[in-house]
């Protein structure tokens, strides 16, 4: 049991071999929840050797001024993005479909904050 825990820790806290091809620590994207009930928002990115260090670095870099109560990190290489070259086909068709906005409904007067 103890050795298992140690193995796990070893894996988690593995130091990146700076002498080889990994000249730099990997890049991580940081998401911060500013208060309970709100969603995590992308705050920026940083370098860290592993997830644990990434969370702690994020704490130091992005929550120094009480910006957050919860942190998510994900290694940047795991983020997949839409292709900018396909932006026209992706996003332009939505431009002339204003009926998709819920602006054509008559709201009852009793309904506030809409």
């Amino acid at each position: 049991m103890h050795t298992q825990k140690k193995e796990k820790q070893k894996k988690q806290l593995k130091i990146i071999d700076m002498s080889n091809e990994h000249k730099e620590w990997p890049l991580w994207e940081v998401f911060i929840r500013s208060k309970a009930g709100l969603d995590h928002k992308h705050a920026g990115s940083l370098h860290a050797a592993d997830a644990q260090m990434a969370i702690e670095n994020a704490r130091d870099v992005y929550t120094r001024r009480m910006e957050g109560i919860s942190i998510w990190v994900v290694e940047s290489k795991h983020i997949h993005a839409s292709n900018p070259e396909e932006a026209d086909a992706f996003f332009d068709p939505a431009q002339d479909k204003i009926y998709r906005h819920p602006t054509f409904y008559n709201l009852p007067d009793e309904l506030k904050h809409m």
Binding site: I15, W25, H47, D60
Partner: protein, 274 residues
Amino acid sequence: MSSVTTLKYTLQLADNVLIMGQRLAAWCGKGPILEQDIALTNISLDQIGQARSLYQYAATIVNNMPAADKAQLFNAPLLQEKINNKLSITEDDLAYLRDAWDFRNCLLVEQENGDWAYTVARSFFFDRFQYLLYTAMLKSTDGTLAAIAEKSLKEVQYHIKWASEWVIRLGDGTDISKEKMQHALQARWEYTGEMFTMNELEKEAYNIGLGVDVSQLQQTYQQQIETIVQEAGLQMPTAAWMQTGGKNGVHTEHLGYILAEMQYLQRAYPNMEW
């Protein structure tokens, strides 16, 4: 006379965190990686913040003392003159106008940054102590000190985490990082004994319920240090002789240089602000 004890005890606590914070601040802009640079300066600012709370309290004690009691508090002429001229003193006066022999920080915190492993080792040894000290200080009969301890504990918990993880990371890393970490632990260990050796002031403070009996913390400290050292795959450091002196005002040569840099501006341009 117990207000003099409270004053001196508070100053000893403050000096430890001020000098430690000043040492870590020297890493600002020189960290091995931006994120760790910020981590260290955050810790530094936590410690300087703790020092400020303590110096503010100390300044209040001095200002409220009867003139006769404070006629010979400090060796530093600049500060003592100010007090004797019936001027109020501030936290800054206590940080900037005292000389090395008035400082009562332990020798550990004034040791040089060295390489990354040395910086980690010093913080590892100091932060563990601070945690035990502040935890015990929650029971102080002095409400202000208990409150400062409570506020600081949350910060120190994070400092411990930071230092411990680096000890494990380096110890459990490459052959070179392991060797450097082992070497740093060994080199700094001889400064840890002083933290648990009660000086006259601490005995007095403990007897009136103000301070902590640090000698009672040593066993727990050793166990906690050993747990992390083992986890890091390192050898527990040993010392044939523990260095002492700082808590009684007898410092290594390093403190003078630290103060020269830290106090220069206020000495050259008194009351300068920016």
